[in-house]
Amino acid sequence: MSQFCYINGAELVMDRRGALYWPDRKMLVVADLHFGKGAAFAAAGQLLPPYDTAATLSLLETLIAAYRPCQVVALGDSFHDEESAARLDSDSDARLRKMVEAVDWTWILGNHDPAIEAGLGGAVTEELVVGPLLFRHEASLGAAQAGEISGHFHPKACVRVRQRRLTQRCFVGDPMRLVLPAFGAFTGGLDVLDEAISSLFPKDFRVWLLGRQGVYPFPSRALQPIAPYYAL
């Protein structure tokens, strides 16, 4: 079960795996892939498991096979750091190139990947405007630009249902802008109740929590602060 939402008049589908699909344009949008995060930590001396990049690639391949998009937009922080692209093992590198070549691919630059090597394929840009929507890495401060779609914050939220606290990655938005959850396998999260996120929505906001079977909308007033253990 997917959820629909309307941002600046565009009808969008939220997928439970953390991606956004725009049927009118056959466009798939993902945020914060953080390819090479495990290896980047390992290079710095913390030996996280090396399976994150392959896991993220597999999930992305599954989504592309399911939606068959013409266009894919990666909303920045696609690579965990500037050396991550060069550090990819040969198998991951080949899978990624194959995926990028097959569609109209756009890399939006983020704070983790301020530059992306042209040799990888795909277009590289700071911002992308398509019809009523504007794609960028981090939501602009102050008054929202109409139709802004962004990532960067890795939103998570917690609700209490039948005495159980459920903490999940989520989409967060209002009718004018939408922030996507992080797609990468090791990405942590920030509570949407944190000022950094909630202040983006001066009136009110909703969240759509990612479940196993579907995406579940909740009003902001239904949320609880995330306990630190779950935030870790």
């Binding site: 399976y51 039948r162 920030l190 630190p228």
Partner: protein
Amino acid sequence: MATATASPSQPIPALPEPFQDWFAAQGWAVYRHQLSMVEAAQAGQSALLIAPTGAGKTLAGFLPSLLTLAEQPRTGLHTLYISPLKALAVDIERNLERPIREMGLKIEVETRTGDTPQAKRQRQRHKPPHMLLTTPESLALLLSYHDAAEIFQGLQCIVVDELHALANSKRGDLLALAMARLDALSPGLRRVGLSATVHDEDYLLRWLASGLDAPDTSVRKVRGDSGAKPEIEILDTAAHLPWSGHMAVHALAEVYERLKQAQTTLVFVNTRAQAEIVFQDLWRRNEDGLEIGLHHGSLAVEQRRKVEAAMARGALRAVVATSSLDLGVDWAAVDQVIQIGAPKGASRLLQRLGRANHRLDEPSRALLVPANRFEVLECQAALEAVRAGSLDGDPPRQGGLDVLCQHILGTACAGPFDADALYDEVCKAAPYTGLSRELFDKALGFVCDGGYALKSYDRFRRVAQAADGLYRMTNPRQIQRYRMNLGVIVEAPTLKVRLKGGRSLGEVEEYFVQGLRPGDTFIFGGELLVFLGIRELTVEAVRGKGGEPKVPAYVGGKLPLTTHLADRVRAMLETPADWGDLPPPVQEWLAQQRRRSVMPPEEGLLVETFPRGEREYLVAYCFEGRNAHQTLGMLLTKRMERAGLSPLGFVATDYVIAVWSLKPARDVDALFDEDMLGDDLEEWMAESSLLRRTFRNVAVIAGLIERRMPGQEKTGKQVTFSADLIYDVLRKHEPDHVLLQATRADAGGGLTDIRRLAQMLARVKGRIRHCRLDRVSPLAVPVLLEVGKEQVYGQALDELLDEGAQALIEEAMSDETVQGLLPI
């Protein structure tokens, strides 16, 4: 360290003159077991001393070293003393310093803990004192220095205090590994263990002897006199004995009267929230202005030290304390211990009783105050267990693989090592005697490059094997990282609590603070506080003036009932002849249960089912502790769902579990079949927060992820990565990774709850007594009162709940059903 006053005039032939004179000047005699410890030392033997509190145990541990150092002055480290508590080390230093000074001995004694100033710690490394008093963590840190071999060469003796509290835990694993290392650095080192009375003495003996040349004969077991039997009494309250709840507020007026009658009382409770409430309540009654203090693990260290110091001076009449005072400094003045709430275990009760009257020749006096009816049974069972000298025993556990990883990394910090030699050394530590080479190599692999099957981290090795075959640290920054993350205690993150513009009161879990809104009130440190906000990792608050407080809901502090005590409660329930000692309301309650249903059998399992309102209830009297019951609840509801019974929820106490559903359970034998622990458990365990939390702790101890400082995740834009996601990815791609093995071992074996469930299901197979009733039974009332408790907020609802509770009790106790009057 007080020693008995018995027969002061008796000469002490075994001791040299200055010692004899000093003992005589104190009016003390030497205990037989103290002399045995000296004899063991003179024979070059290691020794395990088992003696109750107040037997001069610590002096017995130090006496041989004092004698040797007095006779043969020398330089360098001679004796290392390990205590589970920093405060204990500090107190021992003070207590040793006096006899050394008064006898004019040239013996240096120093402590070394996290609180020791940097300069002093530096100096201790190149010029150590004769006796160094420290903790397992500080010892591990010392061993990670490149000059560890020089520091410890010539070490003659290691004394482990409160061995019973350390041995069967991860801290014990860390210490055992450190001791194996020490044995390699200074061969022939004598080991001395000091322990309270325990269930399994042989385990401690093996723990201590492990790795020694002749483990069967090299440790002498010395037993102290058992002293006077403790006098324990259960409060026979004049107030109405509650059906549920854990605060025992009904009895606090009587507790207050007892405080007035004694000189100094330790009031033990089980949780920090309980401590706050009992403390507040006692002060409300305190018309006589008794000096009553509060002591628990969340209070600021200075605050706790102040209370301890006041206690030592005899300036307090009572202290309300949690397990923060279970171990620790001896206070001779304490003449009464009051335990509020169920003791949860016979050994724990005995430990707490031992805090009163540190004199062997006088009995310690104790009062047990059960908070509800089931706790009366538990208190009675514990009292009988203590009288019979029968204690709880945890089965020995295997050493943690995560602790092993930490130890290997620490070894690498100290210098190059040979893997074969290290493996042999590790196997000498008691918890690791059966460790396979394969598992050791997996741990070593993890330390080197993460140990992943996908060999992509070759270039990022932390520790690498060089051409000479030795393993070396590749990067000095990793040494720093190891030291920052050392230790096996992983705490929930906490924030400091500070009065606005004033002093720091202590720490609360961040989780609790996040639930507070500015203006909310809560009780902390015995005061009602108003929450203002969080500023720079500190909770700002001002004193409040009333209103309903939110009491800190602390993580932890809920100990499950021990198996041993549970067995005793079951036996008591089945034997009406033993009920005579119970208070009349409890006798009446049990008699009603016998009339209306049956008593839970000692062997086997009673399961009652009955309708109530629109629902069907199933109550099982397992007595396996709350944690095990929680797991059982998950598994039962899953199975009931498959059977089409539509379960709606469950609630677990230490004694029973209740599940409610739309349809009644008929085939109870099938529901409780042993195979519940097969696929369902695997699936549930993999998804459960228990395993996730366990994995996080394992990952921190092993050095995969770093210890977080309080509030750290707030400083970045978002947390850097999620332990949960690492767990998921690892489980999917490498289910046999050493850290997942460690996690499963911890959750399945170490935490004992699953094992308890397995044992119970096997025990009751074919012996389940299913009682179909037309309404709730008397024994089921307490657990049903727990239903809904967690779901209700605010005062109006509380009143409703109270009415509901009253009706429920009448329904159970009366002979006529009044179903129509009951709220659902």
